[in-house]
Symmetry: none
Subunit: 229 residues, 2 copies
DNA sequence: AGAAAATTTTAAGAAATTTATAAGATAATG
DNA sequence: CATTATCTTATAAATTTCTTAAAATTTTCT
């Protein structure tokens, strides 16, 4: 589990980091929120703990920026005790709010509670599933291999991710926007974005499914794509 | 949204109930936790607010019982301020913990935050709500499929949205204006706007319901359309 | 009841939108 | 530096949506 900690007070950030590392979490610690935004894409964060009062960009704004793209849980930790602040924080997209001074045990309990909800109760599809096998499609997320009718087909990383996500949700339509967000981990600007279509075409070509009515990756007009069960 | 409130202190339970009802939630209020367990199955709860100290069965035990079957969010509200209690509560399956005396606004913010996570970011919680089945009509918002008397019928995006909205409100009249606002997400200018009618006609054609008295999508003269339950 | 007005239905073609294809440009990788 | 992967752009194809006008229906008015 990767946890993001952002606090301009180094002592606090360090304390939180120690607690988290004790509990065996992987911590990414930042003393400034601007730095965070630049690196977020590469980090694959599962939960964030943010301070509210920070010099360059305050926690609320950072939270809003994050929420444009991600939906991992966000916990505010702050010295401000005013209730309105709590309400604000929770309203703009945070999941919990805890005031300094806090008991490390309580913070840990809240972290665990949020992660439990996010990871266990909240699964979009069965997370443990790493090998999917249906209709001649055998796709393995451990080895990143794809067999189609017992024949191995080489996929590029993005092609694999797209196909994997479609298979994980086989039977259901995936909106182009959702697909993009999931594979690219960034916001989707629909005006003039043709890249998914191109990758879909490549996938169809490799699966020799380029007829008028594709049998595998189907187009749902005005919505997105789906792969039939 | 159905919210369960359990507290043996009537004043507290009543106060919480008022707050929730103000915010337009549907409240099921209990003064004893034993009663809850007997009725839980029928209630279709989306979130629970539980007191910890209760005479017959304490909140922690109730929480555990609930978690055996359900995974809607649970918030503890309690007079106990000891930190260990918070940790316990969160550890056994609660999602949040707030101590009395509390600010109603904060409670509401936390309720909203939990519901947001549960409902908006969680596809599984909503899976079932995306399938409507009645009178030979089976419409599935996950797969974007429409079956009419067990026969699959292809719909265009707008046709699907219109039919979905009518089915979601089956039995009730939908004003043309409401229908338009919901599907097109923009303001409706009634002067000379025939587009909904055209789509309705297409839907009726596809359902072979073009007689003098349509059986499915009915015209409510001067108002709009409705689909009979 | 019969005429007039308002509203809805029907039909067909034009316009707009969305998706597919192709090929070259750019970026990333080893 | 060579190779591969990804993105961009332009154009074609497919499909959907809207517009328009006339016909039919229902309601309202006299």
């Amino acid at each position: 589990m990767n946890i993001l900690v952002v606090d301009d007070e180094k002592e606090i950030a360090d304390l939180i980091e120690i607690c988290l590392k004790n509990a065996n979490y992987n911590v990414y610690k930042y003393y400034s929120s601007i730095d965070v935004l630049n690196n977020l894409k590469t980090l694959n964060i599962d939960l964030a703990i943010l301070d509210v009062m920070m010099p360059d960009l305050d926690g609320f704004s950072l939270c809003q920026k994050i929420r444009e793209t991600y939906n991992f849980p966000i916990i505010f930790v702050t010295a401000k005790v005013e209730d309105l602040d709590k309400v604000n924080g929770l309203t703009i997209g945070a999941d919990d709010y805890i005031t300094k001074p806090f008991q490390p045990l309580e913070l840990m309990a809240r972290v665990k509670a949020q992660l439990r909800r996010y990871k266990n109760y909240n699964q979009i599809a069965n997370q443990d599933e790493n090998i999917i096998n249906f209709r001649g499609i055998l796709i393995n997320n451990n080895t990143h291999e794809f067999y189609f009718n017992d024949q191995k087909i080489e996929l590029t990383p993005i092609e694999f991710q797209i196909l994997w996500y479609l298979c994980l949700n086989r039977g259901n339509v995936i909106k182009t926007e959702d697909l993009f967000m999931n594979v690219w981990q960034e916001k989707y600007y629909e005006n003039d974005n043709n890249t998914i279509m191109v990758h879909i075409r490549h996938l169809r070509e490799k699966m020799q499914d380029t007829g008028k009515k594709p049998k595998y990756i189907k187009t749902i007009w005005g919505v997105g794509y789906k792969i039939e069960k």
